[in-house]
Symmetry: C5
Subunit: 308 residues, 5 copies
C-alpha cells in the first residue's frame, strides 16, 4: 500500500508546552526576549528608579495600551494568514488545473505521441514558477521537462513561466492544426491555461506587494516600547514576579509578531513558509501517475516534518 | 412519506447547561482541568505561598493578558471554522457537480446503456476521495461502483481520485466517438469534471496544510501558563472562590482551544469533524434516485446524532 | 401604480427602545431573565451570603471574563449571520437563474407551445426546494406547476428538487431534438440549471451542517454561569443597583445568543428566519409577469411585517 | 481637457475636527445627545441622588459593558458596510456589463442600424433598476431610452427591469434571425444579460432583506440604557467632568450606530447612501461616449460633494 | 542572469525601531504629535489645573473609551486594507488577462502581421487606466502604443480606457472577418476583454466611492479628543511620565489612522499607495518578452525601494 497522502499529526497537548521541533520562533526572538528579561530584572533590583529618580508608572495605562495593541496585532495576524492561505490556494489551483489539462490532453479525440511532452511541460511550468518566486536560478530542475531552447529562453527571461504558458498554447495550436483537437476542446484547455496564468499572476502579486510596510513598523515599535516600559508599571504592585510576567507578555507579543512576519511573505524559506518544493514534487507525482508511470513514493513523514 | 432530509434539532437551552451527548470535549480537556483545579486548591490552602515565599501577584496583569489572549484565540477559532466550512463547501460541490453530471448523462442526445456505469463512477469518485482524506485503504467500498481494473489502479495509487476523473473523461470521449454526445455538451461535462477536480484539490490542500503549527503552539502555551498563574493573582482578593473562577476561565479557554484544534483538521474522525460517511451516503442516495432506483431510507436521527 | 417591491422601513429610534412587534426575542429568554433577576434580588437581600457564608467575589475577574466572552460571542454572531446571509444569497440566485432560464426559453429560436410549462416548472422547483428545507409534505403547492407524474415522484423522493432539475433537463433535450433550440443556447441553459443545482446543494449544506454544536454549548454554558455569579461580584460595590445591572448584562448576552441561535438555522420558521414563503411568491410573480400574465399584487406591508 | 473622472478629496485633518458638510449625522442624533447631556448635568447637580436616594454605581461595570457593547457594535458596522459595499459592487457590475454588451453590439459581425437602440436600452435598464430600488414612479426618465410600449409595461409591472432584460434578449434573437449575430457571440451576450440579471437580483436581495431587525434593536436599546446609566457611574469619581465624558462616549456610540443604520440600507436617499443618480448618469455618459456621442461633462465637484 | 522579479526585503527588527525610510508617516502626523506633547507637558506643569480649576479626571473612563476606539479603528484598518488589496488584485487581473490575450493573439490559427499592434494596445489600455485613476493627462505615455486617432479620442474622453477596449474588440472582429480567428477563440478573447473591463470598472468603483466619509470623521474626532483629554486623566497617577505615555498612545492611534487614510484611496501618490507606474512597467515588460523582444531590465531595488 502506498504511503498516505494525508499526514495526520498527533497532538499530545503537553508536548507542545515544552518542545516544538519545527517552525520554532525562539531563535528569532531570543535576543529581544533576553533584553526584556534583563531590563525587567534591573528594574526590580533598582525598585523602578533610574539614576535615583523614581519612574512613576502604574498598571492602568498598560491595560489600555495592551488591549489596543492586541487588537491591532490580531488584525495583522489575520491579514498575514490571509496572504499565506491565498498563496496556498493559488498553488492548489496549479495542481488542479495541471491535472485538468493532463486529463484533457490524454483524452484527445485523436491520441498523439506528444501528449507526454505536454504533461511534462505542465510540471515544468510549476517548477519555473517556484524558481521565480524563490529567486532561484530560473532553469533549476527544468532539464528533461521542457525543450532545451525553451529552457534557454526561460533562463534569461524576467517572466519565464509566462513564456512556458505561451509554449503550451503553441502546442494546443499545433494539435488543432493537425486535426487532433476540435475548437471547443481547445477553448476549454485555453481556459485552463488562463487559470494557470491567474495563479501565476496571483503569486507574483503576493510576492511583490507586501503588507504596507509602515503597518508592520508601527506595530513592531509599539510592541518593543510597550515591553520596555511594562516593568516600570508592574514593579510596584507585583515586585519580584515582574520579570516572569513581563517575559510572558513579551513572548506572546513578539512570537505572534514574528510569526505573522514569516507567513505574510509565504514564498520564503523560513520554517513556517509554504513548502514549495514538496508542492512541486506532488504535482510531478500526480501527473506522472496519470501518464501511467510510477511516481516516487510519498516522502515518509517524520516527527519533525509536516507536509505543508 | 420519506424521512426528512433536513433534521431540525431541538434546542431547549437548559439541557445544554448540563449535558452534551455528542461532540463533548470534556474527555479531551479533563486532565488539564483537574490539574488546574488541584493547583488552585493548593494555592488557596497555602495562601499563595510557595516554600514560605509569598507570590506577589495581583489581578491587574491578568486582565490585560486575558483579553489579549481572548483576541488571539478568537482569531484562531475564526480561522479554524473557515477551514471547516470551506471543507464542507467543497463536499457540497461534489454533490452538486455529481448531480449535474448525472443529469446531463441521463439526458444524452442518444441514450446509451452505459449511463448507469458513469453515474455509479461518480459515486466511486466521492468514495475514493473520502478514502484518501481519511487515510483508509484506498479501495474501501469501491467494488461494484467502478470497473475492477480501475479499482486495482486506485488501490495502489497515491492520487487515486484523480485517476477516476481520468476514467470519467475517457467515458466522455468514448460517447463522443460513438456520436452520442456532441462537442458542446461534452465541453460542459468536462467543465463539471474540472469542478470535481477543484473540490478534490481543495480538500487535499486543507488536509495537507494545517494552520501554522507554531500559532497553535503559542496559543496553547499561553493558555496553560496563564491558567497556572491565575490562582496566585486571584487568591488575595477572592480567597476561597479562586478554584471556581479559575476553573471557569480555564474551561472556556481550554474547551474553545480544543474545539478549534478539532475542526481545523475537518477530515478526521473526532466527534466535531465532518461526517464524511454520511455525506458519501447522501451522494449515493441522490444519484440512485435520479437513476430511478429506490435509495435506502435516510438514517433515523436519534437525539445523539446530527447529520453533519 | 403597483405596490412597491421595496419596502422602506421607518426607523424612529425611540420606538425601538420600548416596542418591537416582530422578531422579539423576549418570549424566548424571559424565563432565563426572570431567574437571573430573582437570583440577583436574593443576593442583594442576603448581602452576598449563602448559608451564612460570605461569597468573596469582586468585580475584577468579571471584567476579564466578560470581555473574553463578548469576543467569542461576537465571532459566533458573525458566523451565524454569514450562514443566514449565504442562505439568502442562494435564494437570490434561484430567483436570478429562474428569470434567466425563463428569458431564454421565451426567446427560443423557434417558439414552441410548451414554454409556459417550462417556466411554471421553474416555479415548481423553488416550491419543492422550500418544501424540502422546511420539512413540509414534499408535494405542497406543486399541483398545477408540474406534470402529475413528476409531482408523484417528488412526493416520495428524498431529494425531490434534484428530480425536477432532471425533468427540466429533459425538456431542454426535447426542444433540441425538435430543432427549436441550438446546441449552444442549450448549453447555456444547462449552465443555468447547474446554478440552480448549486443553490439547492448550498441550502442543503446549510440545513444539514449546523455550527459545531459544541461551540454553541460552550458559549451558552459560559453565559449562564457568568450571569449567575455576577451578582456576587457586584453586590459589595453597587449594592441595590445589582439587579438592574445584572439584568442589563444578561439581557444583552442572552438576547444576542438567542438571536444567533435563530439565524444560524435560517430555514426554520422562527420570526427572524428567512421568509421562504414570500421568496417563493416573489419568484412566482416575477416569472408570471414575464409570461405576460398579471401576478397577484405585492403583499401590503403592515407595520408588523418586513418582506424578508 | 475633460473633468477628471476621479475626484481626489483633500484631507486636511483639522478641518474634520470641527466641520463636516456632507453626510453629517448630527441632525439625526442631536435630540438623543441633548437628552443625555441634560441628564448628565442633572446627575452632577444632584450628586447622583434620585429623590434623596443615592444611586450606588461605580465605573467598574461600565468598563465591562462598554467593551462588550463596542465589540457588538463593531461587528454591526462591519456587516452594514459589507451590505453597502456589496451594493456598490453590484452597481459597478451593471456599468461593466453594460459596457461589455455595448462593445459587442457595436462590433457585430454585420453592423445594423439598431445598435444604438440596444445601447440606449442598457441605459434604460439601469434607470429602471434605480427607480425600483428607490421606489420612484417606475417610468421616471425612461422616455427616449426604450420603446413606448415597453415603457408602458414597465410602468405597471412589479418587476420592471426583468422585463427590460427580456426585451434585450428579444433584440438578440432578432439579430440572430437576421444573420447579424452568430450563435456563439449571442451566447456570450446572453451571459452578460445573465450578469445584469444577477446584479438586479442582488440589489433586490439587499433592499428586501435588512439586517435582522432584532439585532439593531438590541444594540440600540443597549446603547441608550448604557448612556443613561453612565453619569451615575462616573459622577463620584470625576464629578463635574461627567457631562463632557458622557457626551463624548455617547457621541461615539450614537454616531456609529446611526451611520451603520444609514448604510445598511444603501439604496435610500440619506446623505451616506449610494449616489444612484450619479451612477446612472455615469453609465449613460460612458455608453454614449462609446456610441461616438459627446456626453455631458462630468459634474464639477464642489467641496460639499463626493461623487459616490 | 536577470534581476530577480521578487525582491525579498530583509527584516532586521532593530532597524525598524528607529528608522523607516519609505512610507514614513511622521511628516503627516508630526504637527498633531507636537501639539499633544506640548499639551501634556503643560498639564504636568499645571498639575492638571486649568485657570486654577482642577480637572477631575481619572484613568477609568479612558480605559473604556480607549478599547472601544481601538475596536472601531481596527475595523477601519481592516476595511481600508481590503480596499487596498482589492485594488491590487484588480491590477493583478489586468496583468493576467493581458498575458492571456497576448498568448492567444500570438497563437492565432493564421498568424497575422498585426499581432504586435494588438499586444501593444493592451499595454496602452493599462497605461490609460493608470492615467485615469491618477487624474493625469489622459494621453500620457500612449504615443507609440495606440494608433494616433485613438490616442486623440482617449485624450478628450471621460472614460478613455473603455474606448480602447472597444478598439481591441474591433481588432478581433477584423481578424474574424479575415478568417484568421474562429468564432470560438474569438469568444474566449472577448471573455478576456470582459475581464479587463471588470478590472477597470472595479478600480473606478474604488476610486469614486470612498469609505463613508462620516466614519473617518467620527474616528478622527474621537482620536483627537481622546488624546487631548488623556493627560488630565493620567497626571494624578503617573505624574511626570504623562507626556511619554500620552505620546506613545497618540502615536499609535494617529499613525494607524493616517495609514488607513492613505491606503483606503490606493491610487494616490502617497508613499504607501500602489506603485501604479511600476505595475504598468511590469505589464509592458512581460508582454514585450512574449513578443520576443528584450524588455528593459527590472529596476534595481535599493534599500529605500519596495516594488509595490
Amino acid at each position: 500500500m502506498p504511503a498516505p497522502a494525508v499526514i495526520l499529526r498527533p497532538r499530545p497537548h503537553w508536548v507542545h508546552l515544552l518542545f516544538v521541533r519545527r517552525g520554532s520562533l525562539v531563535p528569532r526572538i531570543l535576543s529581544q526576549q533576553l533584553f526584556i528579561f534583563a531590563l525587567s530584572c534591573a528594574v526590580v533590583l533598582l525598585h523602578g528608579q533610574l539614576f535615583h529618580w523614581k519612574v512613576t508608572l502604574t498598571a492602568a495605562p498598560f491595560s489600555l495600551m495592551g488591549v489596543a495593541f492586541a487588537i491591532f496585532l490580531g488584525f495583522r495576524i489575520n491579514a498575514s494568514y490571509d496572504r499565506y492561505w491565498e498563496a496556498r490556494k493559488l498553488w492548489g489551483a496549479v495542481l488542479v488545473e495541471a491535472r485538468n489539462l493532463a486529463r484533457q490532453a490524454l483524452n484527445l479525440a485523436t491520441p498523439s505521441t506528444t501528449q507526454r511532452e505536454f504533461v511534462l511541460g505542465l510540471v515544468g511550468f510549476a517548477t519555473a514558477m517556484r524558481n521565480q518566486l524563490r529567486a532561484r536560478p530560473r532553469d533549476t530542475d527544468l532539464a528533461g521537462l521542457l525543450p532545451m531552447d525553451l529552457v534557454e529562453r526561460v533562463r534569461t527571461a524576467r517572466f519565464g513561466p509566462a513564456l512556458i504558458l505561451l509554449w503550451l498554447g503553441e502546442w494546443l495550436r499545433t494539435r488543432r492544426d493537425a486535426g487532433e483537437l476540435d475548437a471547443i476542446a481547445a477553448q476549454q484547455m485555453e481556459q485552463s491555461l488562463n487559470e494557470l496564468s491567474g495563479a501565476l499572476g496571483g503569486c507574483e502579486r503576493i510576492a511583490n506587494t507586501p503588507l504596507p510596510f509602515t503597518y508592520s513598523v508601527i506595530l513592531h515599535r509599539s510592541a518593543y516600547f510597550y515591553c520596555m516600559l511594562l516593568p516600570f508599571g508592574l514593579v510596584d504592585s507585583i515586585g519580584i514576579m515582574t520579570p516572569l510576567i513581563v517575559c510572558f507578555v513579551s513572548y506572546t507579543f513578539f512570537a505572534l509578531e514574528a510569526l505573522s512576519d514569516e507567513i505574510d511573505d509565504p514564498f520564503g524559506t523560513m520554517p513556517n513558509d509554504l513548502a514549495l518544493d514538496a508542492l512541486v514534487a506532488g504535482i510531478d507525482a500526480s501527473l506522472r501517475e496519470m501518464l501511467g508511470e510510477t511516481p516516487p513514493p510519498a516522502p515518509v513523514p517524520d516527527a519533525n516534518y509536516l507536509l505543508t
